[in-house]
Amino acid sequence: MTKLLEIDHLSIEFASPTGPIQVVSSISLDLEPGQTHGIVGESGSGKSVTSLSIMRLLPKDQARVVEGDIRLQGQSLLGMSESQMQKVRGNRIAFIFQEPMTALNPVFKIGRQVREAIRQHSKKSKRAAQKEAIALLSEVGISSPEQIVNVYPHQLSGGMRQRVMIAMAIASNPEILIADEPTTALDVTIQAQILDLMKKLQKERGMAMILITHDLGVVAEVCDVVSVMYAGQIVEQGDVKTLFREPKHPYTVGLLNSIPQFSGKEKRLQAISGQVPHPAEYPAGCRIAARCPSRMDMCDNIEPTLYELDHGHRCKCHLYRGDENVTYS
């Protein structure tokens, strides 16, 4: 069976004055239709780079895919011509960016920008597109869309803008929606609204979704599958419920222990010591070794592979080498 989207051992390098720097290393993930895949990780772990590479939106003169492939229903996106790719963007895969403040063109009216998304991939008249734009805006919960089409982005609040972004993203009924931290810049109450909206739309339209965030709570609520990224690699991947109930990787565990547990004050926070290294300084061996409470000698030199646990749960840690069956709690 061909997967809807398949990222296959993808590695990406950026040019820098001191030579190329690998910021994403051998990442793999699959996406089934209708599924929501969450990617979490600390800042700089390579979440955005991964997502942009699916759209082939990384700056051409700086970024380079050094290894791996991305396939949309079996067809390699990396091998497509630029014009073929333009037919994929916005049409089959849509994107929502983190900063709703800057992601809309400040000098065009909302209507024009939504219309553009509609007409780019269909042969609709301006009129029809305008009508559809209004319908879309009302679908994303904007109360008086007829007026909103005639205003400029700066006249809208952050939440409204993010709704407009979503309207543009779903305009061509994409198969996949990639959302890069869609709610980070928003207030909690607004964040709740937007997450609700996205869940609703996904259900109605049967879209698959990749949701990038650093908020574990968001992942837990919205996603089916989650990948935890650290320093350009996926360190743990699996079904949300299993992963949150039984985190395997010491980093995931640490991450979960770092969040003040809302339900009680009883536990003192257990911070992971140290910090994420710069991509230029990723260590050999396991990249978390220096910060890991269960570090072993081998961790410094040998990079662990992504070990398969049950139910598609994978973990990139020497603790889960097949021979030894150590569990970590």
Binding site: L57, Q86, V88, R89, G90, E99, T102, P106, V107, M168
Partner: protein
């Protein structure tokens, strides 16, 4: 909006008052006794005194200032003794030439700079980019007066391709019917192709020469702001919609890049007026720049004062227009 414009114009008043003061003081400390220049070399002292009295040069400065203000209030710009004419009539006859020169230079500069800047930015580090950058560096390094001399030397004396740099139109060709005073425009309006061709040929070198600096700066600005815009999130949004790179740059990028450039373009009018002083001297262009140079050298107060006053008003108006354009192009800016 109208209220805004009126208020803005009201705000120009103190600045113009400041300019009147500064110029007044500057001209009065200009070395040189105007009475001596008004009378000829053979004049006897008593006649010089008579002139001094007639023009009020013997009055205390404050009285002179007051007289000057009164005269300005009547709309009288004074008398330019070095031409023997009222300043106003001198301006009427010379200003169109300068305006024409400045406008055509601006047009040339923009026609070259905008596409060049965009191409340079959208293909950063390409050969176009290098060309644009080097061109803009050269454009702002070459002194106008030198370039002008070389251009005349080449195109007129050596090659003989262009008419003598003397005036705005050849002697044997009648100037077009006077409508705006701008020969190019007038000859277009009255469909006088002979005059159009000839006046364009006269304009070409001085306008090209004057446009260099502006061309350079605008190219640089467009390139810089385009580079800035290209990095913006909304450009990525446009790409993510599936727009082609061309559409992204020209539909979404260009207008955003033009907005910050507007200010620079507005400011360039001032620079062009300054540059016109030199260009007009070299190309014997019968405009205001030449006139001001003469006035400064012969300590003729009235034209200098009038010139600074008018250029300040012009500057204010251009800035206002730029601001209003800003409001048109950039919805985030609204004036009430």
């Amino acid at each position: 909006m109208l209220a805004y414009v009126l208020r803005r114009i009201a705000m120009m008043v103190p600045s113009i008052a400041g300019i009147i003061m500064i110029t007044f003081i500057l001209t009065r400390v200009l070395p040189g006794d105007p009475a001596l220049m008004i009378t000829g070399e053979q004049a006897l002292p008593e006649f010089v005194d008579k002139v001094r009295e007639q023009y009020g040069f013997n009055q205390p400065l404050l009285v002179q200032l007051w007289e000057y203000l009164k005269q300005l209030a009547r709309g009288d710009l004074g008398f330019a003794w070095h031409t023997g004419h009222a300043v106003a009539s001198d301006f009427v006859s010379r200003f169109p030439a300068t305006i024409e020169l400045t406008l055509v230079s601006m047009v040339i500069a923009l026609i070259v700079a905008i596409p060049l800047g965009i191409v340079a930015a959208s293909r950063q580090n390409s050969i176009f980019d290098h060309f644009a950058r080097v061109l803009s560096f050269i454009g702002s390094s070459v002194p106008i007066f030198w370039l002008g001399l070389l251009l005349i030397g080449l195109f007129y004396s050596k090659l003989g391709w262009l008419p003598a740099p003397m005036g705005r139109i050849s002697d044997n060709i009648n100037p077009p019917t006077h409508i705006t005073g701008l020969y190019v425009l007038d000859s277009l309006l009255s469909w006088d192709m002979v005059a159009l061709k000839d006046s364009l040929r006269h304009l070409l070198l001085p306008a090209l020469c004057l446009s260099m600096g502006t061309m350079a700066i605008v190219t640089k600005m467009i390139r810089a702001s385009m580079l800035e815009v290209i990095r913006q999130d909304f450009m990525r949004t446009a790409r993510a919609k599936g727009l082609s790179e061309r559409a992204v740059i020209y539909k979404h990028g260009l207008i955003n890049a033009l907005i910050p450039t507007l200010t620079v373009i507005g400011l360039q009018f001032g620079a062009l007026l300054g540059g016109a002083v030199i260009t007009e001297t070299i190309f014997v262009w019968p405009g205001i720049g030449n006139y001001v140079t003469e006035s400064i050298l012969s300590a003729d107060y009235a034209p200098i004062q009038a010139m600074t006053l008018i250029s300040a008003v012009l500057y204010g108006c251009i800035n206002l227009i730029v601001e209003l354009l800003y409001g048109v192009l950039d919805p985030r800016v609204r004036y009430e």
